[in-house]
Amino acid sequence: MVVFQLAADPVLGILYAGRTMQLLTMIIFSAFVYVMIRRARAGLPVPAIRKIPGLEAVDEAIGRATEMGRPVHFAPGIGGITNADTFAAWAFLGHIAKLCARYDTRLINTNRDYLVHTINEELIRQSYLEAGRPDSYNPDDVRYLTGSQFGYAAGVLGMMQRERPAANILIGYFFAESMLFAEGGANIGAIQIAGTTNTVQLPFFLAACDYTLLGEEIYAGGAYLSKEPNLIGTVVGQDWGRILTFVVMVIGCALANLAAAQGTAFKNYLLTK
């Protein structure tokens, strides 16, 4: 028989005490996304996503590589299979692989995580298959290098110099190797598009790449590139969440300045209720 060690009384007899507002946050943000997907599915109008130059440039970069007869390189960073940036990287890779397959352009994908590599391999193979070019798919171009951060960086730098991709697309969670990849690509004259949510690495991408997707922009990338109404709906849901965040911050700030005690209580309520 299991004996429950209850730390605090549950809320409504079921919810873990102290996490109710966190749960509510998750539910509200998920609900925004879900509602917008339903609207898109019902054929209701969905606002367009504003122009994001870094995303516009993806097709152009692949086109340029095709014209030059040189490969496209895609790196998903060093985040693992459970990292949200890797989810974003897959959305990009799906689009890139489809275009490369359609144009019969060579796509080189380098990976640090063996599980991310496994998924990428399947994703790229499937894209070539769907484009009716299974023979153009080269499994040797989807590479696991090593789990070591700088061993991976050494491999990517060497590959760039030897195989000289014309487009270097870096989307995912990057750490210090970001600078090596971005400068390595700049040195071979590749058109470079990069994006990460690691704020410490963003400046290096901004300095060395032609286009940089700042933080959250990579999450909107899949929807933007696919132009699927359902996916665009999720980005609208994101904006609703942003508006709510704005409102909460304005209320919180107003309380902090006009009624300090209530401001502190509101803050504590959000964090500990």
């Binding site: 507002m21 966190q22 946050t25 998750m26 998920s30 606002p47 367009a48 996503i49 504003r50 994001i52 693992g80 299979i81 459970t82 949200a84 890797t86 989810f87 063996y114 599980l115 496994t118 998924i119 290098l145 090593t146 789990g147 070591s148 061993g151 050494a154 491999g155 730098l157 060497g158 110099q161 030897r162 704020t199 410490v200 963003l202 400046p203 901004l206 700042l214 933080g215 959250e216 922009e217 909107a220 665009i232 980005v235 609208v236 904006d239 942003r242 965040t245 704005f246 909460v248 911050m249 919180g252 700030c253 309380l255 902090a256 300045n257 401001g263 509101f266 803050k267 959000l270 964090l271």
Partner: protein
């Protein structure tokens, strides 16, 4: 480190640094050895840290046979090398990705709420400068957040001015981050130079 180790480390270091001149056979050779050894290390660490202790101690010694299930789920990945049952490899992958999705949904609300509540800025400071800075911080952070609106037209509500301020706030933030990181990177380089000149060549004392 023994003398032999220092020599191996130093020659490898020189070969890797030689990339700064150009990609060359010495770099290529060390790159390949480096990848081979570190990729092996990943396998060994997984074996030593999880596979061996869990199998030997938890399953065989303590009789926790339920732990055979995750081993079996993990082994399904190797069906990808079979043409007829390779779809089974999707099972462990979908479980792991789902687990990551769950983590994102369940664990991100707290740090998110911390960031939001930290922005409940009290403007009044001890001096007028501090007060001005507090107001500026709030305005800049709100403008920065407004910059990311994807589907709200920038022509409306004066959003273009706010998002331009937001964009510049972000650019300044990234510039400051760039500047503050440089020193750390240079000290890493000095560390490697010290290794070559002191530990290897003995030029520095």
């Amino acid at each position: 480190m023994s003398t032999t180790q220092i020599w191996i480390a130093a020659l490898g270091t020189l070969a890797l640094f030689s990339f700064l001149w150009k990609e060359n056979p010495a770099y290529r050779f060390v790159e390949h050895i480096f990848i081979g050894l570190t990729a092996a290390h990943v396998v060994v660490m997984n074996y030593d840290s999880y596979i061996k202790p869990v199998w030997r101690d938890s399953v065989m010694r303590d009789g926790k046979y339920v732990l055979i299930i995750p081993f079996l789920i993990g082994l399904l990945i190797y069906t990808r090398y079979s043409k007829s049952i390779n779809w089974l490899a999707r099972i462990p992958m979908s479980l792991l990705v789902g687990y990551g999705v769950g983590y994102t949904l369940a664990f991100n609300p707290l740090p998110f709420l911390r960031q939001v509540t930290d922005n409940f800025v009290k403007f009044q400071g001890k001096t007028a400068t501090i007060t001005a800075n507090n107001v500026l911080f709030f305005v800049m952070s709100m403008a920065g957040l407004a910059y990311f609106f994807f589907t709200v037209s920038r022509e409306k509500y004066g959003l273009q001015y706010i998002s331009t301020l937001g964009r510049y706030t972000i650019v300044i933030a990234l510039g400051a981050s760039y500047g503050s990181t440089v020193q750390g990177r240079i000290s890493l380089l000095l560390g490697r130079m010290q290794f070559l000149l002191k530990d290897w060549l003995g030029v520095l004392q």
